[in-house]
């Protein structure tokens, strides 16, 4: 029996402390999944806490038809998408307000110069270019890339997490690869040499 499923059985029998095993095993992939999807390091931990909280509350209803990580990643993806919608609403409200007080131009300047907090996390210039290119992908392609490239998930697993067909996963990855080639080709050859 899968190790995760054994722990979940213990949890369902009342051993709530066993959930700690699942957090310790999955906290890094979940935090990174969120970080790479949102591009925001500061919020990724808070959102990851929320993911685990939802998993903890819903684990009694988990029916082992899919693997635990698929279930956990689905929660993560849904929260990411919801957080993005919320963020967009906040940005629109903020922009409307800032247009009135004139601080919009100053913020746009700051954005074009990059976020110093994020830079310290990203490290190199290449890393920043990669981050920017990934963040510019449409959300459905971005999630497919993150799961496939960074989380090393198969087409079948990605299809299950995203609730789409395998052929849809493939075509999202093809489109994403083409976009990334266009955006990163120059820096890739600079770095690796022709």
């Amino acid at each position: 029996m899968d190790e995760d499923l054994q722990v979940i059985e213990k949890f369902k029998r009342g051993d709530k402390d066993s959930f700690t095993f699942l957090i310790n095993k999955y906290k890094k992939p979940v935090v990174n999944l969120i970080y790479r999807f949102t591009g925001n390091f500061r919020d990724s931990e808070d959102l990851a806490q929320e993911v685990f909280l939802r998993a903890y509350r819903g684990l009694d209803k988990f029916e082992s038809r899919s693997s635990f990580f698929t279930w956990l990643y689905t929660i993560t993806m849904n929260l990411c998408l919801r957080s993005r919608e919320k963020e967009n609403r906040v940005i629109i409200q903020s922009l409307n307000q800032k247009q009135e007080d004139g601080s919009l131009d100053r913020d746009m300047d700051a954005l074009s110069q990059g976020n110093p907090v994020e830079e310290s996390v990203e490290g190199s210039e290449t890393a920043q270019a990669v981050r920017k290119a990934v963040m510019e992908l449409p959300p459905n392609e971005r999630m497919a890339v993150i799961l496939h490239r960074y989380e090393d998930k198969s087409y079948e697993e990605i299809a299950e997490v995203l609730g789409i067909s395998i052929s849809a996963v493939k075509s999202r990855l093809h489109r994403a690869r083409e976009s990334l080639r266009e955006k990163l080709e120059g820096i890739a050859f600079q770095k690796g040499g022709k």
Binding site: N32, L53, A127, R181, L184, A188
Partner: protein, 200 residues
């Protein structure tokens, strides 16, 4: 297979999603075409370079923070707002916090007025009058029939100060009564008392 055909399916090729035959054809073309070979390498290198965006480590207290949060939420605390008064307070506060439309507020106020009217209607003061009742001449007093409430209906309740009414006004005697009086008139002018039992 020409360059355009190869470029169209290059992403599938580098990802290993092409059927074996087609994949072999692309490989043959790439080996002989520098332009398409460059294209192929661009796909490979840009995919490889994604590794530059390093993973982050969750903070060391991530698990501890989660457990603290869970413990705090699992306390068998009652929900904060149990009483009706508290719930009404929340609704009232929310009205202002979430800017409930004016018509909702108006509706609420109208409902409150209606309920107040329903449970505590304005008091109507009824004037009680008593119909004068004909008095049998021989009786000292009489008890009126039920008092008449203004408007014509008859009430059952007789307020204490009016429990017994004495009617002092003598009604006009009928013809039979006058004959009766003359027949029973005493010498001193009084009329003989009649006991009802004589008639039973």
């Amino acid at each position: 297979m020409n360059c355009n055909e190869v470029k169209k399916i290059m992403a599938e090729f580098v990802q290993g999603d092409l059927p074996e035959k087609e994949s072999g054809d692309v490989q043959v073309h790439i080996d002989s075409c520098p332009e398409c070979r460059y294209e192929y390498e661009a796909f490979i290198k840009t995919w490889d370079i994604l590794d530059e965006w390093k993973a982050v480590e969750p903070s060391p207290d991530f698990t501890a923070r989660f457990l603290t949060k869970v413990m705090a939420q699992e306390k068998p605390a009652r929900t904060e707002h149990n009483s009706i008064v508290e719930r009404l307070g929340i609704i009232f506060r929310n009205m202002f916090t979430f800017r409930v439309p004016a018509w909702s507020a108006a509706l609420l106020i109208a409902a409150a007025i209606f309920l107040a009217q329903y449970f505590n209607p304005p008091q109507v003061v009824e004037r009680v009058v008593y119909r004068e009742v004909p008095v049998v001449e021989t009786a000292d007093y009489t008890i009126p029939s039920n008092p008449v409430v203004a408007g014509g209906s008859t009430g059952d309740y007789l307020p204490s100060p009016y429990t017994v009414l004495k009617n002092t006004q003598k009604p006009e005697a009928t013809e039979e009564e006058e004959i009766f009086e003359q027949q029973n008139k005493k010498t001193d002018g009084t009329i003989e008392r009649i006991d009802l039992k004589d008639f039973i």
